[in-house]
Symmetry: C2
Subunit: 220 residues, 2 copies
Amino acid sequence: MAAPSPDEVSKSGPERIRDADRTRAEILDTAAREFAEKGFDGARVDEIAAKTRTTKRMIYYYFTNKDQLFVEVLERAYTVIRSLEQNLDVDHLDPAEAIRQLAGLTFDHHESHPDFVRLVSIENIHRAEHIARSTALSNLANPALDVLTRILARGREAGQFREDVDALDVHMAISAFCVFRTANRYTFNAIFDRDMLDPAHHDHHRRMVADMLVSYLTTR
Amino acid sequence: MAAPSPDEVSKSGPERIRDADRTRAEILDTAAREFAEKGFDGARVDEIAAKTRTTKRMIYYYFTNKDQLFVEVLERAYTVIRSLEQNLDVDHLDPAEAIRQLAGLTFDHHESHPDFVRLVSIENIHRAEHIARSTALSNLANPALDVLTRILARGREAGQFREDVDALDVHMAISAFCVFRTANRYTFNAIFDRDMLDPAHHDHHRRMVADMLVSYLTTR
DNA sequence: CCCCTAATGTACGAACCAGTACGTTATTTG
DNA sequence: CAAATAACGTACTGGTTCGTACATTAGGGG
């Protein structure tokens, strides 16, 4: 909004005492970590403030209240995976191989962003009320869906893929697998004594999603 | 513990003014609903008490504190699905068909027990700290795993199933799919405008998990 | 039938926590 | 460089919430 000169502050330092953008971003970062760690109701605004170089007053100055802060945390978290998916170019690949690429990308993202998965879990406990309040999020389509739709169409035309599945079904199946490993890591480990995120299973699981989807799609 | 005469109180009524078992069970029921609804930190002990025919004092009398109450809520929730799985008899079926049965059972349970799925989500946000504190839960094996192990062994012997998957992998994949529909229902609906629990998708999804797993297992 | 204890209710406290009133300083703009 | 405003800090409050001290009663055992 303000600060129209992003060049001369490139190397971050304590030159600028007051920096709205930096303060805002720092709050958002800390809040994301704190919400992911403790849940919405478990997180403390005072604690978030304490872990920032600024004060609680600033949180309310920039974000009005705790709910709105969580809304903007979610907005930023979703933006990351969206931009990642946008860079996916698989139109030149064999449909089956394209599915593998997409599954791999989703797998990698969820594995390397556990906080994102946790934030989504938390938002689901709250019945997505924050997303509903965010025009940015409720109007945000998923670029991966367009990609998927094209892959499926090509696969069907080539006679390779079954006809009774749409892009959302496939996206759901891939997400389910990738989300579960992080979202249910702790109860699964407590009960079955297996850490799904143990590096020992990484390659196997990564191949497993891709194999599952491809074998399913190519079975008629 | 007390109440050694379970016969003459069969038809529930206000005969017995004081009934430890009834009070305890009523608290547990209400607490389960409240925790599932609001999360651990969102749930209020006062609110749970208010929705019971007894008082908050009784909650602390029977459960010591909020954490222990949640522990016992979890214990009861897990017991339900465990006993369900125990009744599964698929040793006489073709391995592929056995997998379908197991997937169907898991699918049905998760669909009809959204509160269980939510409680597990909540417990994962808290890193399974309550399960860890419960000897009953951390020592509770999953009967479905033995069933699965036998199915996989038979499938491999018959040359139908691939060799590089174990029972936990399969259980994970099935659970992931079934859990996701309920656990991520709200964010998925908010963003993609599709209610995964809409009856319109029920049969399709139910067949989908089974097909995915069977096609995956039978592909070498 | 009386006493003892398990079961229950009332009222309260102390800590916590989201949010704000009020005051101050840096930065920008004219 | 002065006035305006954006950015920031301190100290506080009002309501909430887990947990408990204390009082009471029902019901079973002797």
